[in-house]
């Protein structure tokens, strides 16, 4: 019981998630800056930003729904933290697992996006409202290809549990190669899920200031920013656990491999962010439905056929 609590709250649970989220944010900003020929921030910058925001005054708009306005950042952070429990980090099993936890993780991931939508909606600002509508529009765009891509490998593994999938692919490492198109789709729609450039129109600074977060300040903003950082870790870990299940049976070595995999995925995310201009929201929808969803559908069909062949 105590061990479980330690696992969920400290390592590899919430505390690790927050620290690693800040580290990945630093790495992301540093890579982005170096590509742009800038110096970039020092290593403690995300932590300093967080601590500074904690001490700042909270201003709540008079028109807003105050209860929701205050609760949403916490709910968002809690959803990410709960989802992270089901992802194997230290060793090849996660802190908690059951048949179907992959679906739960996908649901919890959606909650953070819904929280952002509600946060913008209840702030009642013009920019926030437009940002929240865009957040929702974008969710409808990326969610289908992202979910299809993440569920496709599960079809071959015949299990809806992330830990179970890892175990299956550990036994049959050659099947990893089949899922490469789905990995491609997951990386791009994952960028959309994280609302990073080129899919950052929900919080486009030059258009709608910062979208849903525009009315947020102080501690509430700090928690939202932290939940965005944690979401980055969650998506990177999920992609690495599902598509790159490279495992040894030594827990510490597995942990090092996990770090390398997530950092590698982050580098791809950062490159994507720095080499492209921002898409308009209608272009995002077009890309997701015209290109990503068909690829993911083909992947699902292929995986179903392979699954059929395996049972023969």
């Amino acid at each position: 019981m105590v061990l479980k609590l330690v696992k969920i709250l400290i390592f590899p649970g919430f505390s690790f998630l927050a620290i690693y989220g800040m580290f990945l944010e630093y790495l992301d900003r540093k890579i982005y800056a170096r590509i742009q020929n800038r110096m970039g921030p020092p290593w403690y910058q995300p932590l300093a930003d967080f601590l500074k925001l904690l001490g700042k005054e909270i201003i709540i708009p008079a028109d807003s729904n105050k209860k929701m306005f205050k609760i949403l950042p916490i709910v968002s952070l809690a959803a990410v933290a709960s989802a992270f429990v089901y992802i194997p980090v230290f060793g090849n099993t996660s802190s908690a697992f059951f048949e179907g936890d992959l679906i739960i993780v996908l649901y919890l991931m959606t909650i953070t996006t819904i929280c952002m939508f509600l946060a913008g909606w209840y702030s009642r600002g013009v920019y926030a409202t437009i940002g929240s509508v865009r957040t929702l529009t974008q969710m409808f765009a990326y969610e289908v290809p992202l979910f299809m891509a993440l569920l496709a490998p599960a079809l071959i593994a015949k299990t809806w549990s992330i830990t179970g999938m890892t175990a299956f692919y550990e036994e049959h490492p050659r099947y990893i190669l089949i899922n490469i198109p789905a990995l491609f789709v997951a990386l791009i729609s994952g960028q959309g899920k994280l609302e990073r450039a080129p899919f950052d129109s929900p919080e486009a600074e030059t258009e709608i200031v910062s979208g849903v977060f525009v009315e947020y300040s102080g501690r509430l903003l700090a928690f939202f920013k932290l939940s965005v950082d944690c979401e980055l870790v969650l998506v990177a870990s999920l992609i690495s656990a599902i598509f790159l299940p490279i495992m040894t049976d030594i827990a510490v070595l597995d942990f090092v491999i996990y770090l390398l995999k997530t950092i590698g995925i982050l580098i791809i995310f950062s490159l994507m962010r720095s080499i492209m201009a921002r898409f308009r929201i209608d272009q995002v929808v077009k890309i997701c439905w015209r290109y990503l969803t068909p690829i993911a559908t083909v992947q699902i069909i292929i995986n179903l056929l392979i699954r059929g062949l395996l049972t023969l």
Partner: protein
């Protein structure tokens, strides 16, 4: 006055719409409309300006443009200062294209006074003008890239802009507001070391600019955000009287350097740069190609600069008369009108900065666009608000009126009085105003 016309036009449009749509339809579509303010303070605006955008979903239905937040009364202030003092004031009309304003002003006075400046001075004016065009366009490229969320290009182009600013600082002693023009020539000579540095910078920049041109021409994401945005066809461009890269992107060659050569442009070959896209993409291409052309002009002038004096003595009192002086600013045609009454102060100075001409087509360009394209559409005319702002009261309770200097002062005194500050007690120094 233009804004009054716009109001009328808007009212007419509204009437037409009312006739077309049934009442019920209008009500539902109006209920779906939201009005969002962009500005006076907004991250996409570099200077204060207000755009009241009416949206239906993400589409712009109407845009009301309000400029005038940084009006400084420079034209009026010029009338109570000597010509030499005005030189420094005129230089500060715009922070980016300060040289073109002072060139236009000096040229006008030189024409009134009947002075011909030495050829070497004319060449130095050309070199500084082209360096200014380079840094202004590079700045624009960065701002435009930032508006569409492409921060890497933003950082790259501003990094390259620093090289131009370094050369400008070496030649003029300043990064902006160069202070190199004087009535009758220029104030600083250019030596061989400066020329070498300028050529070195030109070689570096040429490679970079060709890369940017290639990037804009081939990058799919960039063209998705630039092509077809902010359309202003050739006919509309002529109707609204836009100038500079906005007009040239619509295929109208209005380069003053070619049409009416000033300074040393009569000797220097300038190739016209035009495009037929008539949108933001065309304006981007025109500006990058213009920079490459500027590099050629700089190379030619550095190689062919004649020896000799850099300035001739100008009289303190300028003979009575009036003059219109035109220059090609980075943003387009820049017009200065100067009227002299024979004293050492001008009787009237009127500046028509290029942005003022380009604003007129803005509402037309914004209509039917997506909200996401508004920043880049606004940025594409490379607006310079402080050049443009005039003090005209529109839609006040008493109707539209143009305020004069005294009226403005009276208005400001009352404005402060309402807030409990009485500035009428402050003694103003005696000043002579020309009617």
């Amino acid at each position: 006055m233009e804004k009054v016309d716009e109001n009328k036009e808007r009212a007419e449009n509204k009437e037409n719409e009312e006739n077309k749509e049934s009442k019920q339809n209008r009500e539902t579509s109006e209920r779906n409309r939201i009005v969002i303010p962009i500005g006076p303070q907004h991250p996409s605006l570099k200077e204060p300006s207000s755009f009241i955008i009416t949206l239906e979903g993400e589409k712009v239905v109407d845009a009301v443009i309000g400029v005038g937040y940084v009006h400084r009364g420079i034209e009026k202030a010029c009338e109570s200062r000597t010509y030499i003092q005005n030189l420094y004031l005129i230089e500060r009309v715009c922070g980016i294209c300060s040289h073109t304003h002072s060139t236009a002003f000096c040229q006008g006075i030189e024409e009134l006074a009947g002075i011909t400046i030495p050829r070497r001075a004319a060449y130095i004016r050309v070199i500084v003008a082209e360096l200014e065009r380079l840094h202004s366009h590079l700045l624009w490229l960065g701002v435009a890239a930032h508006e569409i969320g492409f921060d890497t290009l933003f950082m790259y182009s501003w990094r390259d802009r620093e090289k131009v600013l370094d050369v400008l600082a070496e030649i003029c002693g300043n990064r902006v507001n160069y202070g190199i023009n004087t009535i009758g020539g220029v104030r600083r000579d250019i030596d061989s070391e400066m020329m070498q540095d300028t050529l070195k910078m030109a070689d570096y920049l040429e490679g970079q600019l060709k890369y940017y041109l290639d990037l804009v021409m081939t990058d799919k994401v960039l063209s998705a955000r630039l092509v077809g945005i902010g359309k202003l066809s050739r006919e509309d461009a002529l109707k609204f009287g836009v100038v500079g890269p906005v007009a040239r992107a619509a295929g109208i060659m209005d380069d003053i350097r070619i049409i009416e050569p000033y300074a040393a442009y009569d000797e220097i070959p300038v190739n016209p740069v035009t495009d037929t896209h008539a949108d933001v993409f065309g304006r981007t291409v025109v500006r990058i190609k213009e920079m490459l052309e500027s590099l050629e002009i700089i190379r030619y002038s550095v190689k062919n600069i004649p020896d000799g004096d850099i300035a001739v003595k100008a009289p303190r009192r300028i003979p009575a008369g009036e003059v219109i002086s035109r220059t090609e600013a980075p943003r387009g045609e820049n017009i200065h009108y100067i009227r002299s009454n024979g004293t050492d102060m001008p009787d009237r100075v009127r500046i028509r900065a290029p942005s003022q001409a380009n604003w007129q087509g803005m509402r037309h360009m914004l209509q039917g666009q997506y909200l996401a394209d508004i920043p880049i559409t606004i940025a594409a005319i490379d607006p310079c608000y402080s050049c443009t702002d005039r003090a005209i009261v529109v839609n006040s309770e008493s109707g539209t009126e143009i305020m004069d200097w005294q009226g403005l002062r009276q208005y400001s005194i009352e404005w402060y009085k309402k807030r409990g500050i009485d500035v009428s007690l402050v003694k103003m120094p005696e000043r002579k105003f020309y009617a």
